[in-house]
């Protein structure tokens, strides 16, 4: 007969394993300060008027070498190593990612953009810890004009963007940054603020940074809506996009999208998402799981490009119009 673990024993076991996880005495202050430091957001929340649209475009590029055919490069695009694969690279290879294609794309993007025009985000791995993350952001490239941004991404034919700013959307910003791997122990500097959310920042040696992805973000303001759009392309291993029991999904038609789904996520801050998964790498797919009780299209293999269009409270049809620039 099995020994029974009572809930109180369960809690005590977990607490002993989590003894190093302690409350941060400064958290409340940071949360309060985060709002006070965001006057635009404060106004937006108080009157629920301002529209925010954010599109995240992550061009998945993995510079970690998977075989000797490929090279590690630093943030300047210079070869820093031709070392054989790491565990992570192995996982990419096992996942069937075409490393040459990814590497070529990354090199192309690096060459197109001067170093001073990128933000560097770091995924840090230390010798003792499995992994820590940070979002150190430097040298951001911003766009003041949507046309400039479209021009910037013109060479990337698998980004799906509205062809023009939808009517009524006047304020526009965009950022570009690269995501890197860094193999040395991070040095904690301080908690730095990035918008309403603060991140732990680390120093890192630029020369050791290995670019793993390329991401673009843009946003609009509109005084009457509160919608968020996110779009991204990721070169990471295929990931199962799991719908929860309470989620629902249905096919929708969106210009420039392939097999678009509208997913409704009750309770989430952005309850409506439009998802399009399109090929970035041959043989890379995302499997959309569907709980049996949810009305949604058949389970299927959706290709790798991901497009998220998220709405906070507005009519989902508005999202389709928005993304179709209607």
């Amino acid at each position: 007969m099995s020994e029974k673990i009572r809930p109180d024993e369960f809690r005590e076991s977990m607490d002993r394993c989590l003894s190093g996880v302690k409350a941060d005495p400064f958290l409340a202050g940071r949360v309060i300060a985060s709002k006070e430091g965001e006057p635009r957001m404060k106004r937006k929340l108080s009157v629920s008027l301002v529209f925010v649209l954010v599109a995240l475009l992550a061009l998945g590029t993995v510079a970690y070498s998977a075989t000797r055919l490929f090279k590690n490069v630093n943030m300047n695009g210079e070869v820093i190593s031709t070392e054989p694969p790491t565990d992570m690279a192995d996982s990419f290879q096992e996942a069937g990612i075409n490393m040459k294609e990814v590497n070529d794309l990354m090199q192309k993007l690096i060459q197109e953009e001067p170093n001073d025009d990128v933000i560097i985000s770091v995924w840090c791995t230390s010798p003792t810890d499995n992994a820590t993350t940070s979002s150190t952001r430097n040298r951001m490239k911003t766009f003041n004009d949507y046309g400039d941004f479209l021009e910037f991404v013109a060479g990337v034919d698998y980004l799906t963007l509205p062809a023009q700013l939808p009517e009524g959307y006047t304020s526009f910003t965009a950022k570009v940054y690269m995501e890197c791997l860094w193999g040395n122990t991070p040095e904690l500097i301080d908690r730095g603020e990035d918008g309403p959310v603060q991140f732990v920042r680390y120093t890192f040696d630029d020369s050791a940074a290995v670019i793993t992805s390329y991401e673009m973000t843009f946003s609009y303001d509109n005084p009457e809506k509160d919608i968020m759009i996110a779009e991204r392309l990721i070169g990471h291993p295929s990931e199962v996009y799991v719908l929860r029991d309470c989620d629902s999904a249905e096919p929708v038609t969106v210009n420039g999208m392939e097999k678009a789904l509208r997913i409704t996520i009750p309770g989430y801050i952005y309850p409506t998402q439009i998802v399009m998964l399109k090929s970035l790498h041959t043989n890379q797919y995302i499997h959309v799981n569907r709980p049996p009780e949810v009305s949604s299209p058949d389970d299927g293999l959706y290709k790798k490009e991901e497009v998220f269009v998220c709405s906070k409270g507005s009519d989902p049809k508005e999202l389709l119009k928005l993304f179709n620039a209607e």
Partner: protein
């Protein structure tokens, strides 16, 4: 049930936020650590939880407990993190000792076995097991927090117990 309703002034709001952080930060952080299996991501998730809670204090009507409300926010944030590129990059090797205070008495081997087994559970099962056994929430509260039906929560609890029983030699969770 303690209720946060209609803060009148910024000071009231701040005080209520401070009170919520004081009472629920550590449970949320530990829950998020077990859920995300990464401390940095868990800290980000908890901070984001309180930011969202702070902004939504006015609209919280006390229809659920504060703990259920915060857990619901945290679970959605963790779920969202789960879907991000950052999370996909992480090394998911599970080692409970990364959460242990080195100055504290080390956990017993059976503690680590249990924690590892829980963290190896599929996400859907892990979240209900943690909410039920670790956070002490009942099935109705979990259903509310995760927006699931009562039967879904019960079914996941049952499957979670079965999986844990298979992973833990000679031990199982008490129903």
């Amino acid at each position: 049930m303690s209720i946060v309703m209609g803060p009148d002034t910024a000071t009231d709001r701040d005080q209520k936020l401070i009170s919520l952080v004081d009472r629920y930060q550590e449970p949320l952080l530990r829950m998020c650590c077990l859920y995300l299996r990464d401390r940095s991501l868990a800290e980000d998730a908890v901070q984001e939880t309180f930011i969202k809670a702070y902004r939504a204090l006015d609209s919280f009507r006390g229809e659920s407990s504060e703990k259920t409300w915060l857990m619901r926010i945290a679970m959605h944030i963790c779920c969202d993190i789960n879907r991000t590129g950052w999370f996909r990059f992480m090394n998911r090797e599970i080692t409970p000792e990364m959460f242990v205070d080195q100055a504290a008495p080390p956990p017993e081997e059976r503690d680590e076995e249990l924690a590892t087994a829980v963290m190896k559970l599929p996400r859907r099962l892990r979240e209900v097991i943690l909410l039920y056994y670790y956070q002490g929430m009942n099935v109705n509260e979990i259903a509310d927090a995760l927006n699931l039906s009562h039967s879904s929560v019960s079914g996941r609890l049952k499957r979670g117990r079965e999986k844990l029983k298979n992973m833990l030699e000679g031990r199982e969770l008490d129903e």
